[in-house]
């Protein structure tokens, strides 16, 4: 219990620091991504540039913050979209039942069988440089887990007594859904969305790293690390270390929050089973 709370607090604090850094620094610096200063290119960390500069002379302290901001934003949008999509599919599938339900579950199996990144690569290759395509490619491949969770939740709820009682009392389908299903499904979906976040951060940065995501001048953790590839060969270790650190810390923070929330959501359920 204390361990879970510690994890939650540490995750939230770290996440808050990262978000603060990602929001405040680029805003305060007010630099345009496209402005370059080749005279200041590839400088190591110094008081003027704590994270050093990249091959175009841009300050990496600012760019890492901007990259983190874009990556987190994309990840949040993706996580929300895939959760909504998954929750809808899962709930409808469970509500419909029968062959429609079986068909949807086979579809889930099918989507799971395909490497997610591969689908992402294909989509993004066809719609080059489009943020919508990046988000769609992530959302369209990550909804299956949520769909499964929500479907299981709805199915188990439907068998419980108070829902039967409500239906017997003449409650409408929509009323039952709103009154009983939503409150039970929402926490699960929220946890699933949080756990999706690190995946989405990774996915976006991976696509950008492969040169398929955002255009190189748009800072994201992926494009920064893409650039680090060539700077590394010239000894620019800082171009790898700081963006990578941002990526790893963001992943750890979100994962900590997500797993703490998941454990908390799981606890009351377990208590019910024990009764």
């Amino acid at each position: 219990m204390a361990e879970r709370r510690g994890r939650l607090v540490a995750g939230v604090v770290l996440l808050a620091l990262l978000v603060g850094y990602a929001v405040v620094v680029p805003w305060a610096a007010g630099v345009d991504d496209r402005v370059t200063d080749f005279a200041a290119a590839r400088q190591g960390p110094s008081p003027a540039h704590p994270f050093g500069t990249d091959s175009a002379g841009r300050d990496l302290f600012v760019r890492t913050a901007a990259g983190l901001r874009v990556s987190l934003l994309v990840a949040v949008v993706c996580a929300v979209l895939s959760t909504v999509l998954g929750a809808l599919v899962g709930a409808l599938s469970a509500a419909a039942g029968g062959w429609a339900d079986r068909l949807v579950m086979r579809l889930v199996d099918g989507v799971n069988a395909v490497p997610h990144l591969l689908l992402g690569i294909v989509l993004v290759a066809l719609y080059r440089g489009s943020l919508v395509a990046i988000i769609a490619s992530i959302a369209l491949t990550h909804w299956t887990q949520v769909a499964r969770i929500v479907r299981a939740e709805v199915l188990s709820l439907r068998d419980r007594e108070h829902v039967d009682a409500a239906v017997l009392a003449g409650a409408g389908r929509w009323w039952v859904t709103r009154r009983h299903l939503l409150p039970a499904v929402l926490p699960q979906a929220l946890v699933a969305a949080t756990l999706l976040l690190p995946h989405a951060v990774w996915h976006e940065s991976t696509l950008s790293f492969l040169g398929l995501g955002l255009p190189p001048h748009r800072a994201s953790l992926g494009t920064l690390l893409e650039e680090a590839r060539s700077s590394l060969l010239l000894g620019g270790w800082w171009t790898l270390v700081f963006p990578a650190l941002g990526l790893v810390l963001a992943t750890l923070a979100v994962a900590a929050v997500g797993s703490a929330l998941r454990d908390r959501a799981a606890l009351p359920r377990r208590a019910v089973v024990e009764l």
Binding site: A113, V114, H116, L119, L123, P198, L212, L232, L247, V248
Partner: protein, 317 residues
Amino acid sequence: MAARRLLLALPVLLGVSVAVFAAAAASPFDPLAGYLGDRYLTAGQEVQDRIAGELGTDRAWWVQYGWWLGELLTGDLGTSRSYAQPVAQVVAERLPWTLLLVGVALALAVVLALLLGTWSAHRRGGWVDRLVTPVCLLVQAVPPFVVALGAVSVFGLALGWLPVAGLTDAGAELSAGQVARHLVLPAAVLAVSQLPWLLLNVRESLLRALAEDHVVAARARGLSERTVVLRHALPTALLPFVTLVGARLPELVVGAVLVEEVFSWPGLAQAVVTSAVEVDFPLLAFLTLLTTAAVLLGSLLADVAYVLLDPRVSADG
């Protein structure tokens, strides 16, 4: 289970290929531009229309899909523009290198996971065990391409121990020694990126198995610790592990894509990235299909292995 997977494979493969074609048709990408390259801008509308008619790109996408599928079934995979080679040749040249890389990395990861996982579960609370979990969680949070870049800068650039790119040194003959030296870093990185999951899983299921009746009974019988762990706890703990390895294949593919890209390893995964960057549609479509088939085959093999390993399943048919 295995039969169900086999039944699922065909619709999945069809679905994936249809989806790729539909997405291509809906995308702003013009296959004619890909075909003509620079000439696209200089060719007049009339020429464009004529070539589109010859290639059939003016037809609806499902018609084109039908042609593609027909050619695929007769063994004609089309021509890759980015490699200026038939797709079949690209695959034939590159597949062995990918299989080598993935095979070595997977074997390395599985062996390490078994050794470390068994050790840390058996010596629960020992220093190895206390180190394993946090390190695994940390490595899990680091994307494979960051691991790869880190390995390049440390072992390749700073220490200068190992080559960081390609199959051989520049201009060197292709030889087993050269390939082995160049294989070390990519295979190690790929193995490390897969290790945490496998390791934590082995540890977890072995801990569960060590508390089970049959293991306690084996210990009560006076068998040596070695026999108890290796012959009684591990065999039952490994059953779920086999399926896990199968289920992790998509992750392995993702890891291979990144590792091959960073280390310029001339395998198929790198060709996926190249064909995507160049929108080399015939190659991209076929590689997507091939990878999906490989992943499906992998989980099928894992299921078959499970059935072979667990007498309870095979008895039930």
